[in-house]
Structure formats: structure tokens, C-alpha cells
């Protein structure tokens, strides 16, 4: 990415503009719903999708989903505008814009879906599109590895998530999310509550990169910076948080919910803050602060109090605003100087004044200084933490520590590169073009505007969101810049002092942290050996199952058939079979003897040609049976096929060396007898049960008057069941072409 800003700031023409306009239109569309939602109403649209399963294409706009939608489409617009310049002239920009827009739409679908199955579809779509985006620079090995890692971790979580959703739907009897929430606390008393919770959290924790699944998120920074700004600040990683929030009214309040979310959230928040401070790479540092934010959001979702919910809603917005802004600033710094390492940056404030202002505004919000929205968010966090009935000290302690560390990281990321040191020699930074500073400035300014006028946000989004989270009106607490002298204020002051100390000594701290983290096991290190192990296992089991020996394939196939039939017979009970041999005529007996003789000859002969001819006798015997029971069409087909097979096999077999002397293989003998017995028993059972003739009667009655044909078999083939026949002949063509391709390939291989 080094090498300065693109000289041509016009971007990518129409390919660049259309997505921006599209995203902006979506934002305006969602913004137009704010008055309705602010009046504590909800909008629900549903179209039947799979009516037999009660699954609908249902979308719900309420406080929570509208907040997310506005963040997604708003930040999406700015990020797309930014990328158009950031990646100006990139040969694959169209692909990039498509992925990013597709991701945005999937994410919108995810937060708006009001049906569990629909939710899952969009959930997986975000996983897939983010895989494409993280691996956008697919020329580099690292980028591919990290994209795959993100895909595997979130995809594995997605499977657990699906299982959880299915259990949830089964437990509550509906796939409608609002329907489940309307059932109140029924779910909490359900016997399957714990499995559902564990599976859903497995999905959300992997997606939101909570400890111990946090390792993929920093690696995902291999993506172009606008992608990180979008996916890893406002959207994808918050999908997990969103689902937890969505299910909050139906599932929160139990001990398991409270402790799992509180402890893992707190651990993630503190752990990630320490990791963030350790980083020298600006983007990595921001990635870890995102983890901290996700941990904090999870922490609050563990609780039920109005304070905690208000804190959740506020911090969600605060974080998205400042984090997207800072990521975009880092992108500007990166393009301008060619590096993201803090050690090699300094004195940019005078050269990039607008970017510096945006960075400062965002960082002050992040650090929680008044009068920014971040300050209100922090005060609410402390108020929410103290309101935690069970363990206020733990929650408040975690919040204090992570906030102080956040302040230090804000300094490292947004203060140091601009206002300390001087520009190192060899760099010739410039101010970013307007398309690139517009996004950060707008987002960061919003943090300040909402800080001074919190009422704007309160009515429009915070109150409705809290209603979504608690299910009750009036739980939301007021957003105030000055809430009087109280405990949160003292905690804020403590945060500032502690944070500034952390910042002052961050270089020394970093060295200490480096040593400390060496001792902690990191799943990322084991990742490659895990993947290698998986590949070795796949290879081993493939060689076991597909060893290339035709006889072992046949053995496996017949073993499955025999076992399947016999086990079914044992479990369902052997049908009482009374074989009545009174109406057997001499011709039946002679056909049977002929067939048996052919089979026995094929078994014992040493000559290939005799074996083929013997098998032909068996086939002709079967054709004779068809004739005896007056099915001429089937008999003719059978005869012709038998003839062709004998000719074909003879063509091949005659060129092969003669068979070795037939030896007796007990295993195969047992298997073939078992298959024979199983099939015979089934046939006798079928024949002895009364035959349902309704279909036969129908065809006999309608064949002539409706299809003008007297040969029922053929009329069925070409008229009544023409679609089936079409399917069959398609299979015939495919089989012939595949066999042709195989034969041709081997021949060419031989010629080499």
C-alpha cells in the first residue's frame, strides 16, 4: 500500500460512484424510519417463503435493528467513498466494490431478519463475503491464510449457531424471532435452554472474536484498511453482539447467561486492552481495541438493568463512530507515509491537519473525554457496572482497567504520530484528498455533536433500542454530559489519571507485556499445525476408503446393502412368509434352473469368455421370467442390454490375460450369500404382501382414452412420466460423456 496517495483522485468512474449512491440511498431510507421508531413503534414486513415449515421472509425494524442499520449503511457509504480513492485505479476495484456492497446488504439482512432461518442465511452470507474481503489481496500467502482462518473459525461457529437455532425453533415451536420473544420467559424454563444457549454463544463468540476465539481478528487485518474499518469496527464482529442483544429479552436473566457473558466479556475486554497497548502497528492496535469494545458490549448484555442496557446502546454507537473513523485515519497515514509502525511515525500534525483533527476528535471520544459522546458512554458504563447486582466490583474493575488502557491506546494511535517527534527522513507525507478525510471527519464530529446534544440520540435511537433489549418501555436512563458529582465521575477521574500514566510509560510497559504474553498459549500458533493435521487425517481416511481397488469398492457396496436390508428385517420384525409353490409350472422351474446353472458356472470357471457367457445366461433367464409374466417391453430391453453387455465385456476381457485358477475366499462367499438371502427375503416379503393396484388400474383405464396408446409401459415412459424419462436420459448422456472423458484422458496419459 506504500507509495503515497493515488495521483488520480477521480476514483474508479461509475464503478466507484454507484455503490456509494446505493449505500447513501439505503441510509436515507432507514433514516426516514427514525420518527416511527422513536414513537416506540415497530415495522414488520413478511412474505411467505417456506409455508410448509412456517418459515417467512420476515423483516423487523425496531430500535435495535434500526440502530444497526443506520450504522451499517451510514458507515458503509463513507467507507465506499473512501475506498474509491484509497483503491483508485486498482484493476479489481469492481470486484472489491461488489464484495463490500454485498457484505453491507448481507449485514443489513442479518440485523433486520425476523426469522431464525433467514437470520442464519444472512449470517453465513456475511461470513462468506467477509472471507472474500479479508482475502482480497489474494496474491499474498499471508492474506489467503488469514482469510481462510477467519472463514474456518466463524464457519465452525456458524455450524454450532445453526444447531442452536434449530433447537431454539424446536423448543419454542416457531422460527419467528418476535414470536419467540413474545413467549416471554418460557424459553428460560425449557429443558433445552442450556444446550441452546451454549450453541448460540459458540456462534456469537466466534463471530465476535471473544476470548478464546480472538486470534482470528487481528489476522483479519490483512484486508485493505477500508474493509477493516467497516467489518471490524461497526459490522461483522458486531453480528455476534447483535444476536446476543436480539435474544436478550428471551434468554437473559439466568445464572448461566449472566456469568458466561460477564466473565468472558470482562476477560476479553481487559486482555484485549493489554494486547492493544503492546502493539506497535497502528492497525493491529485498533484491531485489539475492537476486541475490547466487543468484550465490553458482551459484558453489558450479561446484565438486565436499565443502566447496563442504556450503556450498551450508547457504547455501541460511540464505538462504531470513533473506531471506523480511526481505522480510516490509519489508512490515510499508511498511504501518506508508507508505514503503520508507531516507531516510524511522527510530526504529521502540521502536514496533515485535517486528518489530525479527525484523529484527535475520534481519539478524544475513544478516551472518554468530555464533552464527547465517549464520555457519556463511559459514565454510563460505570453506572451500569455499579448497577450490576451480583458482582459490581469485578465489572467496574474490568471497565476501569480497560478504559484506562483505551485512553493510552488512543494516545498511541491518534496523538503520538501527529503531535510528537518529527517526520523521519525518507518520508514525504501529504494531506489526504477530501474523499479520504471526509469519512473520518464526519464520523468523529458526530461523536462530538452527540456528546453536546445527547438528546438527539436519546429519543431517536437509545430509547427504542433499550425497549428492544428489555421488552419494556421506560427502562432507558438519561444521557447526560453532567450527571452531578457521583461515583461514575470519580471513576472517570481515576480513569484519566491511570490512563495518562499508562500512556506516559507505554514504551516500558510494552516490553513487559511482550515478556508476559510469551508465556500465554496462543491458538494462532497452533493453527497451522491443526490445519496440517486435518489434511493428514483427510488423506489417511481418503486412502482408506478410496484405495483404487474395484473389488474393495464392490465389497463395501454390497456389505452396506446386505447390512442395511438384514438390519431392517431384524428391527422391523421378519414378515411371516408362507411360500406357496402349488402354482409353479414346469417352465418356471426350468427357467430358474437355467439361471442358477449360469450363475454357478460364472462362479467356478477359469475362462473369461465362459464367465461372460454364463453371466449372459443369467441375464437371459431373467428376460425369460419377464416374458413368462407378460412384460414384453421389459423383456426386450433386458435382452438387448444383456446382448450389448456381453459384447462389450467380451471386447474388453478378451484382451486381458486368462484368469488365475479360481480360489475360494470365505469372506466374499459369506457376503454374497448374505446379499442373496437378504434380497430374496425382501422379494418374498414384497410378493406376499397384497399388491396395491390403484396406480396400475389408473394407467390401464386412462392409457388409451387420454394418451391414445395401448402399450402402457411406453405411454408411461413418454407421456405420464415424461419428466422422469427426461431425467433418466439426461443421466444416460452424462454417464456416457463422463466415461468417454475418462477413457480419453487415460489414453493421452499413456502416450506421454
Amino acid at each position: 500500500m506504500a507509495g503515497g496517495f493515488p495521483t488520480d483522485t477521480r476514483g474508479n468512474g461509475l464503478t466507484g460512484i454507484v455503490p456509494v449512491v446505493f449505500a447513501a440511498a439505503l441510509f436515507v431510507y432507514f433514516a426516514s424510519m427514525v420518527p416511527t421508531i422513536a414513537a416506540t413503534e415497530v415495522i414488520r414486513v413478511s412474505i411467505p417463503w417456506i409455508p410448509s415449515l412456517g418459515i417467512e421472509l420476515a423483516f423487523l425494524v425496531d430500535g435495535l435493528s434500526l440502530t444497526f442499520s443506520l450504522l451499517i449503511s451510514g458507515i458503509g457509504t463513507l467507507v465506499l467513498l473512501y475506498s474509491n480513492t484509497y483503491l483508485a485505479g486498482h484493476p479489481q476495484y469492481a470486484r472489491f466494490a461488489l464484495f463490500l456492497t454485498a457484505f453491507m446488504v448481507s449485514m443489513l439482512g442479518l440485523v433486520l431478519a425476523d426469522d431464525l432461518i433467514l437470520l442464519f442465511v444472512f449470517w453465513e452470507l456475511t461470513t462468506l463475503t467477509s472471507y472474500m474481503l479479508i482475502g482480497f489481496s489474494h496474491e499474498t500467502e499471508k492474506s489467503r491464510r488469514n482469510a481462510l482462518q477467519a472463514l474456518f473459525v466463524t464457519g465452525a461457529g456458524g455450524l454450532a449457531f445453526l444447531a442452536g437455532l434449530i433447537l431454539l425453533a424446536a423448543a419454542s415451536g416457531t422460527t419467528s424471532i418476535s414470536g419467540i420473544i413474545a413467549q416471554g420467559s418460557a424459553l428460560k424454563e425449557h429443558a433445552m435452554y442450556l444446550p441452546i444457549l451454549i450453541l448460540l454463544l459458540a456462534g456469537t463468540f466466534t463471530k465476535s472474536a471473544q476470548v478464546p476465539f480472538h486470534f482470528w481478528l487481528p489476522n483479519a487485518m490483512a484486508a485493505p484498511t477500508p474493509v477493516s474499518a467497516f467489518l471490524h469496527s461497526a459490522t461483522m464482529v458486531k453480528a455476534g453482539v447483535y444476536v446476543m442483544a436480539r435474544m436478550h429479552p428471551a434468554m437473559s436473566g439466568t445464572d448461566v447467561w449472566l456469568w458466561t457473558l460477564t466473565i468472558l466479556g470482562a476477560v476479553t475486554a481487559v486482555f484485549a486492552s493489554l494486547l492493544a497497548l503492546r502493539q506497535t502497528n497502528l492497525k493491529q492496535a485498533l484491531a485489539y481495541t475492537t476486541l475490547m469494545a466487543l468484550g465490553t458490549l458482551t459484558l453489558f448484555l450479561g446484565q438486565e438493568s436499565g443502566y447496563a442496557m442504556t450503556a450498551f446502546a450508547t457504547f455501541l454507537i460511540v464505538h462504531s463512530l470513533y473506531k471506523a473513523s480511526l481505522f480510516l485515519v490509519v489508512g490515510c497515514i499508511d498511504l501518506s507515509t508508507g508505514t503503520r509502525e508507531t516507531d516510524q511515525l511522527g510530526g504529521l500534525g502540521r502536514i496533515m491537519p485535517i486528518t489530525a483533527v479527525a484523529a484527535a476528535l475520534a481519539a478524544l471520544s475513544m478516551a472518554g473525554f468530555p464533552p464527547f459522546l465517549g464520555f457519556i458512554g463511559k459514565e454510563l458504563k460505570y453506572a451500569g457496572a455499579i448497577a450490576v447486582a451480583s458482582e459490581p466490583l469485578l465489572v467496574a474493575g474490568a471497565a476501569l482497567l480497560s478504559n484506562a488502557l483505551m485512553l493510552a491506546v488512543a494516545g498511541v494511535v491518534a496523538f503520538r504520530p501527529f503531535w510528537q517527534g518529527s517526520v523521519p527522513s525518507g518520508q514525504s507525507p501529504r494531506e489526504a484528498p477530501w474523499q479520504m478525510w471526509a469519512g473520518p471527519i464526519i464520523l468523529a464530529s458526530l461523536g462530538a455533536v452527540f456528546g453536546v446534544y445527547p438528546d438527539l440520540l436519546q429519543v431517536a435511537l437509545i430509547n427504542p433500542t433499550v425497549i428492544s433489549l428489555t421488552g419494556e418501555i421506560g427502562e432507558a436512563k438519561e444521557l447526560k454530559l453532567w450527571a452531578g458529582i457521583n461515583v461514575p465521575l470519580f471513576l472517570s477521574i481515576a480513569t484519566f489519571i491511570l490512563g495518562l500514566l499508562f500512556y506516559k510509560f507505554h514504551v516500558q510497559l510494552r516490553a513487559k507485556l511482550e515478556q508476559g504474553f510469551q508465556a500465554i498459549p496462543n491458538l494462532d500458533k497452533g493453527w497451522d499445525s491443526f490445519l496440517d493435521g486435518l489434511k493428514r487425517f483427510a488423506k489417511w481416511q481418503t486412502q482408506l476408503v478410496q484405495n483404487g481397488k474395484l473389488s474393495s469398492y464392490l465389497f463395501g457396496t454390497f456389505l452396506t446393502i446386505a447390512a442395511g436390508i438384514l438390519l431392517t428385517l431384524v428391527y422391523t420384525g421378519m414378515p411371516m412368509i408362507a411360500v406357496d409353490l402349488s402354482d409353479v409350472e414346469w417352465k418356471h422351474t426350468s427357467i430358474a434352473l437355467l439361471t442358477i446353472a449360469g450363475a454357478l458356472l460364472a462362479l467356478v470357471t477359469n475362462s473369461r469368455i465362459a464367465g461372460i457367457a454364463a453371466l449372459g445366461v443369467v441375464g437371459i433367464g431373467i428376460a425369460l421370467i419377464f416374458i413368462v409374466f407378460s412384460a414384453p417391453d421389459v423383456a426386450i430391453t433386458q435382452l438387448l442390454v444383456e446382448t450389448l453387455i456381453v459384447v462389450l465385456v467380451a471386447v474388453v476381457m478378451l484382451r486381458l490375460p486368462s484368469l488365475p485358477k479360481a480360489e475360494f475366499r470365505p469372506g466374499r462367499a459369506v457376503l454374497s450369500i448374505a446379499v442373496g438371502v437378504a434380497v430374496s427375503l425382501t422379494l418374498i416379503a414384497v410378493v406376499s404382501s397384497p399388491l396395491d393396484l390403484r396406480l396400475t388400474d389408473y394407467f390401464e383405464a386412462t392409457s388409451w382414452p387420454e394418451a391414445y396408446g395401448r402399450n402402457i409401459v411406453n405411454v408411461i415412459l413418454v407421456d405420464f412420466r415424461a419428466l422422469d424419462t427426461f431425467g433418466e436420459i439426461a443421466v444416460v448422456v452424462i454417464a456416457a460423456l463422463s466415461a468417454y472423458a475418462l477413457l480419453r484422458t487415460t489414453r493421452k496419459g499413456d502416450q506421454k
Binding site: 430391453t637 394418451a707 413418454v718 477413457l743
Partner: protein, 139 residues
């Protein structure tokens, strides 16, 4: 198999089988026969030809690549299926035309069903020959 008698005999036999296969296909709607059986019979003729005279001759006699025939058959069958949609019927509904029909005589019946059967015939015929020729040439 370098036998003059076999080669000459097979030529006539193959021709007869081909004619017979058309007959089998056409009568299929009312008597035993039809596209599957017809296709198999026709293919048998060319398989014999290929064994007696070699696949090069057989291919030359066929003029068209067998896989082309199979795919054409599939295409014809599909077209017949779609054809019903023009008349607003469900896919693959048979369409009938009775030329010269009067009150007592039903006239000459023509149907899309027969065309579908021709498609089946070509698929079976082409697919078998694709396989047999490839196997013969392989060895």
C-alpha cells in the same frame, strides 16, 4: 477379426437392424417397442459393425459423432417438453394432432410424444456408441 464374410454380412445386418430399430420405435405407442428399445437395437447394429470392420469405418458410416447424436436427442426431448408450455399446458404434456379426422375415423395421429420418443432413441443410441467406440479404440 479380419473375415470378409463377417464384414460383408455385418453391413447388411447393421442396415437391417437400423431399419428394424425405427420400426420398433414407431410401433412403441401401441405394441412392445419404443425409444429405449429402438435405440438399443440400432446401437447393436453399429456395435456389430464396429467389431467387424473397426471403429474407423463405423464412425465413417455414422458420419456424425455419437456424443453429438446423444446431446441432440436430449435437446429434442427438452424442446418437446417446453413445446407444451406454448399451449399453456404443464411441462411435457403430450400434444396431439389428428389429420383428416372425422366423426368415425380418427385419421392420422401425430403427436409431440413421438418426437419425445425420437429424442429418447437418439440419446440411447448415441450414448451407447460413444461408450463402445471409446472402449474399442482404447484397447
Amino acid at each position: 477379426m479380419n473375415s470378409v464374410i463377417l464384414r460383408v454380412g455385418t453391413r447388411y445386418l447393421a442396415g437391417l437392424l437400423l431399419v428394424f430399430s425405427f420400426y420398433m420405435m414407431l410401433r412403441g405407442h401401441n405394441e412392445p417397442g419404443g425409444g429405449f428399445i429402438g435405440g438399443l437395437t440400432g446401437a447393436t447394429g453399429f456395435v456389430l459393425y464396429a467389431i467387424a470392420c473397426g471403429t474407423q469405418d463405423a464412425r465413417a458410416a455414422l458420419r456424425v459423432m455419437p456424443q453429438t447424436i446423444a446431446i441432440w436427442g436430449l435437446g429434442i426431448a427438452l424442446a418437446v417438453g417446453l413445446f407444451a408450455a406454448i399451449f399453456g399446458d404443464a411441462l411435457f404434456t403430450g400434444q396431439w394432432l389428428f389429420i383428416g379426422a372425422t366423426e368415425t375415423e380418427k385419421g392420422l395421429p401425430l403427436s409431440s410424444v413421438l418426437v419425445f420418443d425420437i429424442g429418447v432413441y437418439l440419446v440411447v443410441f448415441g450414448s451407447i456408441l460413444t461408450l463402445v467406440f471409446a472402449m474399442e479404440e482404447e484397447i
